[in-house]
């Protein structure tokens, strides 16, 4: 299996704070990898390094073997890395279909002169883009909403639209930043299935940040845990669940004993 994304020793420092410290990560092609960790662990910073917002001070990020750190974000989008945001960031005053059309930007090539003169190429390209946009919206269950303003969609659908916009550029790697934040259990179950479908049907590689452990454990092929910018564990979901270091990071040192005591008491009560 080919490696899709590889980070080696990535370090990002803000002033005196090392937000990401020497993180090495390997995401194989066509898999779902999750990054988890307590708040402020540096997950989103790592995402921002990958998608080109930040230039890491140290380390290398490579996408299919090519180094990409230091590239501008639009170039990275063109290479095939698309992302969504922790708090939905749509083009609110544009319509739903226009959002998806802008998502296709890396695939389009008609320049402004061709567009104003309506050359054959421009017309055809635009038509295909619109058609693709409609298909995509149907794929994410937003058919019939094409001409609404994006900001008027309900929250759940805004999340879907953001994913549709990310998918519009036919990416090879999709970065999802807390896709199920603010969703109820049934919505997040739907989304879990949807993400799995993306891997199985389109063959996407997905890297996601998620706080909902149920989702993470269900769909991940590989889970990495960050704490204070340091990767403290990596492995299959069930390995992570029993990793003492991870439990300490989330619940504090000594929590194992507490959990044991709590379980004993619970048993006593129910006995």
């Amino acid at each position: 299996m080919k490696t899709c994304l590889e980070t080696t020793g990535v370090t990002k420092v803000f002033g005196g704070l090392t937000a990401v410290n020497d993180v090495s990560l390997t995401v194989p092609e066509n898999s779902i990898a999750s990054i988890i960790g307590p708040n402020g662990a540096g997950k989103t910073t790592l995402f921002n390094c990958i998608s080109g917002y930040y230039l890491p001070e140290k380390g290398q990020i490579s996408f299919y073997g090519e180094p990409i750190q230091g590239f501008q974000t639009n170039l990275i989008a063109r290479l095939g890395i698309a992302r969504t945001y922790q708090n939905v960031r749509l083009f609110g005053n544009l319509s739903v279909i226009e959002n998806v059309l802008i998502g296709q930007e890396p695939l389009l090539s008609a320049n402004w002169l061709e567009s104003t003169l309506k050359t054959r190429k421009a017309i055809l390209e635009e038509k295909q883009a619109i058609e693709r946009g409609f298909d995509l919206l149907e794929y994410v269950d937003l058919a019939g909403r094409e001409n609404l303003l994006a900001r008027n969609l309900p929250y759940g659908e805004q999340r879907k639209l953001e994913i549709a916009r990310a998918l519009a550029s036919s990416p090879r790697l999709l970065l999802l930043d807390e896709p199920t934040a603010g969703m109820n259990p049934s919505e997040s179950r739907d989304l879990t299935n949807f993400i799995r479908r993306l891997r199985d049907e389109i063959g996407l590689t997905i890297l996601l940040i998620e706080h909902d452990m149920k989702v993470v454990m269900e769909i991940s092929d590989q889970v990495s845990v960050l704490d204070y910018g340091i990767k403290i564990a990596e492995g299959k979901p069930h390995e992570i669940q029993n990793n003492q270091q991870v439990i300490n990071a989330y619940l504090g040192v000594g929590s194992a004993e507490l959990i044991g005591r709590y379980q004993k008491r619970k048993r006593k009560i129910y006995a």
Binding site: N74, I76, N93, L94, P106, S115, A122, K127, N147
Partner: protein, 520 residues
């Protein structure tokens, strides 16, 4: 039942009092009553004051306005319950005006000329405020009575209207608009015959009107056309791309001066062909826009606004200075700027110029409308919405913004060249910052980001002042008031931008279409 608060009457009285005092201080009382006088078919001769009757009418109307605004929200209560509030309002309003009249009247009587401190307040104007009554005390008392009565009258009429007609009027309005919509069947517009007929009628109007309505209207509409060009140009960079450009007049100046220098006999004697000079002027403006954008469009925030603002001032001051007199004609400007020619014919008269400007405006509208609906326009609007995300979605924000600024500057260059050619003269005073602010205003008033809105905005802001010549002294005041009212009533402009409806293409299979297109 709503509780009736006396403080409301008090506050309304104070607000109206302050506003009318302000209008008095800037001399608007004279203009306002002059307008009324004109409305009744008695234009006021220059250097004369309007008749006292119209001043009283003006005061009564404002007093009635105050009264009607007092009772607008109370329609369930009996009128006698409202009476105290109205009286408080009217008395406050009247008292303020009375005090103002008393103060200024006493000062005038003492023989002190206040024009040293308040430029507009001439003794004649004070006389108008005092209703030509000599004694300040009597004048103040009569003003108090006048405003109280006017407020009462206004309140009473408004109350009657609310009770009797308000609901019916609303019903009627809805009914009429529904009828109208039913009366004009929508599908009719889709028939080709109707389309062609509309087109032919529009074309005929377009050809006939400039010949019929005379040179004054040609001049006014020419100005409007030039401002439409400017508005559409500024709309590209500010309305769509969301980058504030304050000194837009700089590009206009570059266009004007390039054109003027190339076609005028002095100071360089180049006298180039109109069309060649037009192209060069547009090109130069575009180049200047490009060069200004190059270093600063990579930055975020309002740097572009500041840099263009500075640039506009630098250009204006340079044009005015003695330093460049040998090159630009200095403060005297450039005379005898060349007019349009076509195959050797000189098309210099106002009718032909109106045609030329109309054609340019239509071309520009066509051009920007297509741009808006294209990949480029979508990219611009994405940058306006969220630049960071637009970039991360693959929009090359730098080159997009640079293109927007270049095209925007080119439009200003075109407008500038037409402006210089039409006036046959240009000078530094044509390029004050106020031009840019006017353009910004018409864009905001009309509806930012919307092409029909900008056309309407130009008609309102450049056409109306021409029609209402009397208030041209108060243009800035009117702008301010209009903008404030706009922001309150229609914050997105007269015609806010709407998203285009995009429907699914009819052709079932795009791959099939592609194959057919390539002839496979």
């Amino acid at each position: 039942m709503k509780t009736i608060r006396f403080s409301k009457g008090f506050v309304t009285g104070i607000v109206f009092g302050i506003v009318l005092t302000f209008l008095f201080l800037i001399g608007f009382i004279e203009t306002g009553s002059g307008l009324l006088s004109k409305l009744f078919g008695q234009p006021v001769p220059t250097n004369a004051m309007p008749k006292i009757f119209f001043v009283v009418l003006f005061f009564v109307l404002i007093g009635m306005w105050a009264g009607s605004s007092l009772v607008r929200k109370y329609r369930e209560e009996p009128f006698k319950d409202l009476l105290p509030v109205i009286l408080v309002g009217g008395l406050t309003f009247g008292a303020i005006m009375g005090i103002v009249a008393f103060i200024f009247g006493s000062i005038a009587k003492a023989g002190i000329d206040v024009r040293t401190y308040l430029v507009a307040v001439s003794p004649a104007l004070i006389g108008l405020l005092m209703l030509k009554i000599a004694d300040p005390t009597i004048a103040a008392l009569s003003l108090l009575t006048l405003f109280t009565l006017a407020t009462l009258l206004g309140a009473f009429l408004e109350y009657l209207w609310q009770r009797r007609f308000s609901d019916k009027a609303k019903e009627l309005k809805g009914c009429v608009s529904k009828r109208l919509i039913r009366f004009v069947p929508q599908h009719l517009f889709e028939k080709p015959a109707v389309k062609y007929a509309t087109f032919v009628i529009a074309l005929a109007l377009f050809i006939l009107l400039p010949r019929v309505w005379g040179s004054y209207w040609n001049y006014v509409l020419g100005t409007v056309g030039i401002y439409i060009l400017l508005g559409l140009g500024l709309n590209i960079i500010t309305g769509w791309t969301g980058q504030l450009v304050i000194g837009y007049v700089a590009f206009f100046a570059v266009g004007t001066y390039t054109f003027a220098l190339l076609t005028a006999p002095e100071p360089h004697g180049l006298m180039l062909n109109f069309w060649l000079a037009l192209a060069i002027a547009v090109g130069t403006s575009a180049l200047v826009g490009f060069l200004i954008g190059l270093p600063i469009l990579n930055l975020r925030g309002d740097y572009l606004a500041i840099v263009t603002l500075g640039f506009a001032e630098i250009i204006r001051i340079l044009l005015k200075s003695d330093l460049l007199t040998w090159f630009t004609g200095g403060p005297r400007g450039i005379r005898d700027v060349g007019g349009p020619t076509l195959f050797g014919m000189v098309l210099n008269d106002d009718v032909n110029f109106t045609y030329l400007i109309f054609i340019m405006v239509l071309l520009m509208i066509f051009f920007v409308a297509r741009l808006q609906r294209s990949r480029t326009g979508r990219g611009w609007e994405a940058i306006r919405e969220d630049q960071t995300v637009a970039k991360a979605t693959g929009v090359n924000t730098f080159s997009s913004k640079l293109l927007a600024l270049t095209l925007s500057a080119a439009a200003a260059g075109l407008a500038g060249a037409l402006f210089a050619s039409r006036n046959q003269f240009t000078g530094p005073e044509d390029h004050v910052l106020l031009v840019a602010i006017n353009v910004m205003c018409l864009m905001i008033v009309g509806g930012i980001g919307n092409i029909p809105g900008i056309v309407l905005g130009a008609l309102v802001l450049k056409g109306l002042p021409e029609i209402l010549r009397e208030i041209s002294n108060f243009r800035m005041l009117a702008f301010g008031a209009l903008l404030v009212v706009m922001m309150l009533m229609r914050p997105e402009g007269f015609l806010p931008a709407k998203r285009p409806k995009i429907s699914k293409p009819e052709v079932p299979d795009s791959a099939q279409a592609l194959k057919e297109d390539q002839g496979i």
